[in-house]
């Protein structure tokens, strides 16, 4: 998408959410062109929505019935998905990450997280918002990847403060290092569980950029894999 304008399609049954997100997208730097699918999945697969770089997906188009199947279909077709949901329970969040969503944001998380999440997803990178950070550090699934003490500390501070500048200042590291730790956690998560194109892209890219080494990846997968 380099050079091109970033486009995103939003699927949400609340018109106010779509309008609010459009406002944030227009003011983003670089700006994001938003297509409203008007709560219809067909508009994500056909027409201008089919060409959008990022899908902003409300998991609960039907109340109490999270659309994991739709999410899986989108990811399997190589779409880069940012889940933007009312739902915030840890199991749902982890399931979306495992399915291959690049970001999971709760609707209490505003433009300061949604805009960077869309930018990251358009670039094929993951974005970890504070709530997701909180979910990852309290994940007690035996198949979870092994995180280092430092990664845990950074994630915990990120969840607590919701500001990378504050995390960096408190832990006496640079904002870039904070980012690196958070990204490494997501790469470790992408390397376990269900295989998905967005996840393998994330891992190979991290290996290419030297964010993580092959040996480290083998280690995090832990016993049993």
């Amino acid at each position: 998408m380099a050079g091109d304008r970033i486009t995103a399609v939003i699927v949400d049954d609340h018109a106010a959410i779509a309008a609010g997100v459009r406002y944030w997208c227009e003011r983003a730097d670089p700006p994001i062109e938003l297509i409203d699918a008007e709560a219809r999945m067909a508009n994500v697969w056909t027409g201008p929505g089919a060409e959008a770089d990022v899908v902003i997906f409300d998991l609960e188009l039907v109340p109490k019935n999270p659309a994991f199947g739709e999410l899986r279909r989108l990811v399997d077709n190589g779409r880069r998905v940012v889940v933007y949901s009312q739902h915030a329970d840890s199991a749902t969040v982890l399931k979306c990450v495992n399915l291959g969503a690049l970001a999971y944001l709760t609707k209490t998380e505003g433009p300061e997280h949604l805009v960077p999440a869309i930018h990251a997803a358009a670039d094929g990178r993951a974005y970890t918002a504070p709530a997701l950070g909180g979910v990852l550090i309290t994940d007690d699934d035996p198949r979870r990847p092994q995180l280092s003490q430092r990664e845990m500390e950074v994630l915990r501070a990120w969840f607590a403060s919701s500001s990378k500048e504050l995390v960096a200042a408190k832990l006496h590291i640079s904002v870039k290092t904070v980012d690196t730790h958070i990204e490494r956690v997501r790469v470790k998560y992408a390397n376990v569980g269900r295989a998905a194109r967005t996840k393998t892209d994330l891992v190979s890219r991290a290996l290419h950029d030297g964010l993580i080494s092959l040996a480290e990846l083998d280690e995090v997968a832990g016993p049993g894999t």
Binding site: T108, A131, G134, A160, S161, A169
Partner: protein
């Protein structure tokens, strides 16, 4: 009879306790009569019975019933309802059997040993039953004896008189015992009722004392910080217009809210108390985000107070927004609060496993309180 009702169970236990001496006495009388009177009489008239073995069977049946009673008395138990009626049947069968073999003209004689004994054995079995049941049993037994007399002897004046005088003792003595037992039942009932009420009063008293103790404890907690503030306001020493006094009031109001929340029975006490602390800030217009992740054990009150004390103070001081987060696991709980306020003098945690860290920038204060299980298995 086994009852789920504790009150009925208590009445039953009281009755068993009261009855035990009476039962021993009646059992001794019945057994003594069987061994010392019936047995010699039966053996003396051994040649008369037709056939003699029926008397042995009847004797063994009554002895068996008394044996069961002896075991029950030793174990301190009452007759089971399901056993009682078969036992009465055994007694009735024994007397019918004994009379069947009694020779002509011997009704109410010394050889008619069962006439005086069966009523005592029946009394033993029916002791805990109402008086009318005793009357019915005695009546039945007397009728069997009467029918026997009418059928198997020449009904003459001497015979009728012998039967009548015999009947007075045979029916009279066991009846006296049955009346005594009935009186015991009434006494047991009122004794159990009194015991029940005493226990209820004791329980209510203990509960009242416990809640009084807790209330005093809570007053003592308020005494340290809230009372001086209220006294200062009352005496005019503290000015309500002073922002510092107002701040102290918010902190104390939040502490009181937490105090009220501490008595609530909820699944996650720490989170419940934090929500109440956040609510006070919310009411004064501070936008509070509260997010909790993970699962942690139920922490003791002192630890929860340490974990909420600093966040409470920060929340009460926040100017416009605050973020409160909790992350927890089996042996670690971190409460973080971030708000737009200057540095604060925060109280140090009182319990050993709790650590407090604070960090501030120009406009923000970030406080982390962390509880770590001391005897960590790791």
């Amino acid at each position: 009879m086994v009852s789920d009702d504790p009150r009925a169970a208590m009445e039953l236990a009281t009755r068993a306790q009261l009855m035990s001496r009476l039962r021993v006495g009646i059992l001794a009388a019945a057994s003594g009569g069987l061994m010392l009177l019936c047995l010699p009489n039966m053996l003396r008239d051994w040649q008369l019975y037709e056939p003699a073995w029926t008397q042995v069977v009847a004797f063994t049946m009554l002895a068996g019933v008394l044996g069961v009673e002896a075991v029950l008395v030793v174990r301190g138990r009452l007759w089971l309802a399901s056993w009682r009626w078969p036992a009465v049947g055994v007694v009735v069968l024994a007397s019918v059997l004994s009379y069947a073999a009694l020779p002509y003209g011997h009704a109410a004689s010394a050889g008619d040993w069962i006439f005086g004994e069966a009523t005592w054995v029946g009394l033993v079995v029916l002791l805990s039953r109402p008086l009318r049941v005793h009357l019915a049993f005695l009546g039945l037994h007397w009728c069997i004896a009467l029918v026997n007399m009418l059928l198997s002897s020449d009904v003459e004046r001497a015979m009728v008189l012998r039967f009548a005088t015999g009947s007075i003792g045979v029916i009279g003595y066991p009846l006296c015992m049955a009346v005594t037992a009935a009186a015991f039942r009434g006494i047991a009932r009122s004794a159990a009722a009194a015991k029940w009420e005493t226990e209820q009063v004791a329980v209510a008293e203990a509960a009242a004392a416990e809640s009084h103790r807790r209330r005093q404890q809570r007053f003592a907690d308020l005494d340290v910080s809230t009372m001086p503030l209220l006294e200062g306001l009352a005496s005019g020493r503290l000015d309500p217009a002073d922002p510092r006094v107002r701040h102290d009031c918010v902190v104390e109001a939040t502490r009181m809210r937490r105090l009220f929340a501490e008595v609530d029975v909820v699944p996650n006490r720490l989170l419940h108390e934090l929500r109440h602390c956040a609510d006070v800030a919310d009411r004064k217009g501070v936008l509070v985000e509260l997010d909790a992740r993970g699962q942690w054990p139920d922490l003791p009150l002192a630890v929860r107070r340490d974990l909420t004390e600093a966040p409470l103070t920060v929340l009460a001081t926040a100017a416009s927004w605050a973020r409160v987060t909790v992350v927890g696991g089996p042996d670690l709980v971190c409460v973080n609060v971030l708000a737009d306020c200057g540095p604060l003098d925060l109280p140090r945690p009182a319990t050993s496993g709790v650590r407090l860290d604070s960090f501030h920038t120009e406009k923000k204060l970030w406080v982390e309180v962390r509880w770590q299980a001391t005897a960590s298995p790791r």
